[in-house]
């Protein structure tokens, strides 16, 4: 193969890759590799194309690239992505750490380190990396969301609330962020804040049928405040917009608190708390589904 032919193949591989034709890019790149087996950029191209195609040889090609160019952060970054795509999180984390050593301000590598660390059972390292990522780019909503999720799962409620507030500030129409702030405020007994957030959510969440979820959250706040009359008003409002009848038991409980026992048996407080928590959970899930794919 002449250099000219190899040049053509490389160009073909590059342009095909950029056009999203990974199959052609892989074929042309593979052919060019026969002539230039030590070309790390070509190895990266073919490796990345292989990963896009779901081929087995992607990681191997990218490993060859980093072996030939161990000081190339881009090559390590490609390898990290490929490994994480294969579900090899520990190795991926190592690759991302190499990127940071070579290029300390690489935001994506920090995000990669954080998630692979968390998946490897090291939440502290995950939090550290995400904090660094957020410090460097306070507008990264995805990083804030991951940090918030990890804080919540680790029981770091105050940190979670601060992060949720930052996210809600950044994304004012983000229902999930508002839900997080509201729930965390509720957990911490910051009932005024919870009430304000769920009140805004009631107005802002325009998905059909979602007003009832905000109302349930507001009822929860009022039950904790023991403001039974206000809870009754909200329960009546919720009943009006609740076509699934999920408020009936809550209303019966509040009515019993306000007017005393009636003929209709009212549920216990723990049952009501569970129902209201389930409502929030369902609300969250509906919006979480909308975030992906």
């Amino acid at each position: 193969m002449t250099d000219a032919v190899a040049d053509d193949l490389v160009e073909q591989a590059r342009s095909s890759f950029e056009a999203g034709d990974f199959r052609r890019a892989h074929e042309a790149g593979q052919a060019a590799l026969i002539k230039r087996p030590l070309d790390t950029q070509l190895l990266r191209l073919v490796g990345n194309a292989a990963m896009e195609l779901g081929r087995d040889d992607g990681v191997e090609l990218l490993e060859r690239a980093v072996a030939l160019a161990p000081e190339d952060p881009e090559a390590w970054s490609d390898l990290g992505r490929a490994l994480v795509l294969e579900g090899r999180v520990t190795s991926a984390g190592e690759a991302f750490r190499r990127v940071i050593r070579l290029q300390p301000d690489d935001h994506d590598a920090l995000i990669g380190i954080a998630h692979t660390a968390y998946l490897s059972g090291d939440p502290a390292a995950a939090i550290t990396a995400l904090r660094q990522a957020v410090e460097r780019d306070s507008g990264d909503a995805a990083a804030l969301r991951s940090l918030l999720a990890i804080y919540r799962r680790e029981g770091m409620v105050q940190d979670a609330l601060a992060t949720a507030r930052a996210l809600a500030e950044l994304r004012q129409d983000d229902v999930l962020a508002a839900l997080d702030v509201g729930e965390l405020a509720l957990d911490l007994g910051l009932l005024d804040e919870a009430s304000a957030v769920f009140g805004r959510l009631r107005a802002n969440d325009e998905e059909p049928g979602h007003e009832v979820y905000a109302l349930h959250a507001l009822i929860d706040v009022e039950l904790r405040r023991e403001r039974w009359r206000r809870a009754l008003d909200l329960a009546i409002d919720a009943t009006r917009v609740d076509r699934l009848g999920t408020t009936t038991d809550v209303l019966a409980f509040v009515v019993a608190r306000v007017f005393g026992a009636t003929n209709r048996p009212a549920p216990d407080r723990p049952d009501v708390d569970r129902a209201l928590a389930a409502s929030r959970q369902e609300h969250r899930r509906m919006h979480e589904e909308g975030l992906v794919l």
Partner: protein, 579 residues
């Protein structure tokens, strides 16, 4: 001087992660997409946008979108807290689509299909005039081109903002589907999470084949409405696809990674139906060559065994069951479940299978070999749901002109309280009647126990065969012994007196031929027994396939009309004494 890449291009954007709403694990977004939107940690199936769904199921670049004219209509000038028109504009902006459904033509592994697919992200996939129009046009196009229709459903129900016009889409789509059924066009429906309300109660559940993904929620009323109405907590998994499968409402539930393959297989099997107008000789030529021993039609050539010995062999726990014979005799078996009414009865299995290059519908009793399997399959004793599933599959065969093979092996229909409540007798009677008028060739083989009406319900065939060591009887020998011989221990005598074995049934004309078994019985060499069975079935179909439908029906009528008719019914001499 060679030119070199200065930097390798990279397809991926930032390294995005997403949290699985089911298990809370972080999943690399790209990995999730590669995994078809299924969480690699917990197998949770994420809801898919319509484009992603089509990409996963259809051949690359094969989809031609014909939905240009599909638009929602604001027929009521509806406004709640916001005008409907504004809500539509929001949904269009959010999803990039014009409506909650698209339709067009495509291919799946080269098989042409017309597709209508819904998008839950667009106003909850609700069905208004636009969705109804897309589905109806798809059905009409499928009819015009005589191409299978694939519907991918997901919806919260009818679209309130279009009032009764929305309700009418249920009728509009259902009548379009009815035409497909009348014309014998295949309609496969994939019900995805969630599918509810007026949509579930119209076109998607009218498919010839209904399939779904694990854990998809499908129902009419939402679970909360039901809980509030009946004031009871619903069982775990209520309204999931698996729940519906268990209750006879779905044919199959396949993980997302298998869906495309399942669709391919269904299309392939239906493409191998005998084609109307095709020369009968060509259809017959699609049957496979066989190597088994020929079926026996002369009773004198059959070994004479004590009837009771035959009964024991027929009941032997290791004797091959329907699903084993299916494995040996047929290819590409695709089991189809459910009676679409009440339950999935594992005592009867059925589905599509390939015999050479010809697809047949196969239905048979299934007993199992281990205690747990026998319990699961109720020892091969069907409830009414089993027979109703059988009838559903027979109608499927009739619709597509597929020959039917039934394998009979049951002690009898299940004598239970629930079975009676749900009409056991009626189910058996209807099955017998429907079989008698099926406009397709039907071959029956009794492979083990032929227990009375429970067996006959699957045995009104054009050709009725039995394995050498099977038996067929109006009542179990034990039952007859108790009632007529007044002594339960006289079962061997009763078996002899009832003439339940192959030679006698051949002489009586109940059987047309007997399938030889290996020495010691079918369980000694199931492969050999199955080879013989295959030869017998293929031989029968070679005779039957060239027969015009009218003649087929008349001969079947005559066959069963002759039983007990003076002058036409052979009468046997007294049996040998049992010591």
């Amino acid at each position: 001087m060679s030119s070199e890449l200065t930097a390798a291009p990279r397809a991926a954007g930032p390294v995005e992660w997403t949290k699985c709403p089911s298990c809370d694990a972080f999943v690399y977004h790209k990995r999730l997409r590669r995994n078809l939107g299924v969480c690699p940690e917990c197998n949770y199936h994420f809801r898919l946008p319509v484009q992603r769904r089509l990409e996963q199921l259809l051949d690359d670049d094969s989809f031609t979108d014909l939905s240009d004219e599909i638009q929602p209509l604001d027929v009521l000038s509806f406004a709640d807290t916001k005008p409907y028109a504004d809500r539509l504009a929001d949904a269009q902006r959010k999803t990039g689509g014009r409506e909650a459904a698209v339709y067009g033509t495509a291919e799946i592994d080269g098989h042409p299909v017309v597709v209508a697919a819904m998008d839950f992200a667009f106003v909850g996939g609700s069905m208004g005039s636009g969705v109804g129009e897309a589905v109806t046009r798809a059905a009409e196009l499928a009819l015009e081109r005589r191409t299978p229709l694939l519907v991918i459903a997901t919806s919260g129900g009818a679209r309130m903002q279009e009032g009764c016009v929305s309700l009418m889409q249920m009728a509009k789509t259902s009548q379009a589907v009815a035409r497909l059924h009348e014309e014998g066009i295949l309609f496969v429906s994939l019900l995805t999470d969630p599918t509810y309300g007026g949509v579930t109660a119209s076109f998607p559940t009218l498919g010839d084949i209904l399939l779904s993904e694990p854990n998809s929620y499908i129902g009419f009323a939402g679970p909360k409405v039901i809980e509030q109405t009946i004031r009871q907590t619903l069982p775990e998994g209520f309204q999931t696809a698996e729940f519906l499968l268990d209750h006879g409402m779905l044919d199959l539930v396949e993980p997302r990674e298998n869906l495309r393959q399942a669709l391919r297989k269904l299309l392939e099997l239906h493409s191998l139906a005998p084609v109307a107008g095709q020369p009968r000789k060509e259809i017959v030529a699609r049957l496979p060559e066989t190597e088994g021993r020929a079926p026996v039609t002369d009773p004198a050539l059959l070994p004479a065994r004590p009837a009771w010995d035959v009964v024991q062999l027929a009941r032997h726990i290791d004797r091959p069951n329907t699903l084993e014979y299916v494995g040996y005799v047929f290819d590409d078996f695709q089991e189809l479940a459910g009676d679409r009414l009440f339950d999935e009865d594992a005592a009867i299995v059925g589905g599509l299978a390939r015999l050479g290059d010809l697809t047949v519908v196969l239905i048979g009793h299934q007993k199992g070999h281990t205690t747990s399997e026998m319990v699961e399959r109720n020892f091969g004793m069907p409830n009414p749901e089993g027979y109703r599933k059988g009838m559903r599959l027979m109608r499927h065969a009739a619709k597509f002109g597929l020959p039917i093979v039934t394998l009979v092996d049951t002690p009898g229909a299940y004598p239970g309280l629930g079975a009676e409540e749900r009409g056991q007798s009626i189910a058996i009677a209807q099955s017998i009647m429907e079989m008698s008028r099926l406009p397709v060739p039907t071959v029956t083989a009794v492979t083990g126990e032929g227990g009375s009406g429970g067996a006959l319900a699957l045995a009104v065939g054009d050709r009725v065969l039995m394995m050498e060591n099977s038996y067929y009887s109006v009542i179990s020998p034990e039952g007859c012994s108790t009632i007529l011989f007044k002594d339960a221990s006289q079962a061997p005598r009763a078996a002899e007196a009832l003439r339940v074995t192959a030679p006698d049934l051949l002489r009586l004309g109940i059987m047309d031929a007997v399938v030889p078994e290996p020495e010691g019985g079918a369980h000694h060499d199931p492969a050999d027994a199955a080879a013989n069975l295959k030869t017998a079935i293929v031989t029968a179909l070679r005779d039957l396939l060239p027969t015009p439908v009218d003649e087929l029906l008349q001969r079947r009528y005559d066959r069963f009309r002759a039983f007990g008719t003076p002058g036409r019914q052979p009468v046997l001499p007294p049996p040998a004494e049992v010591p």
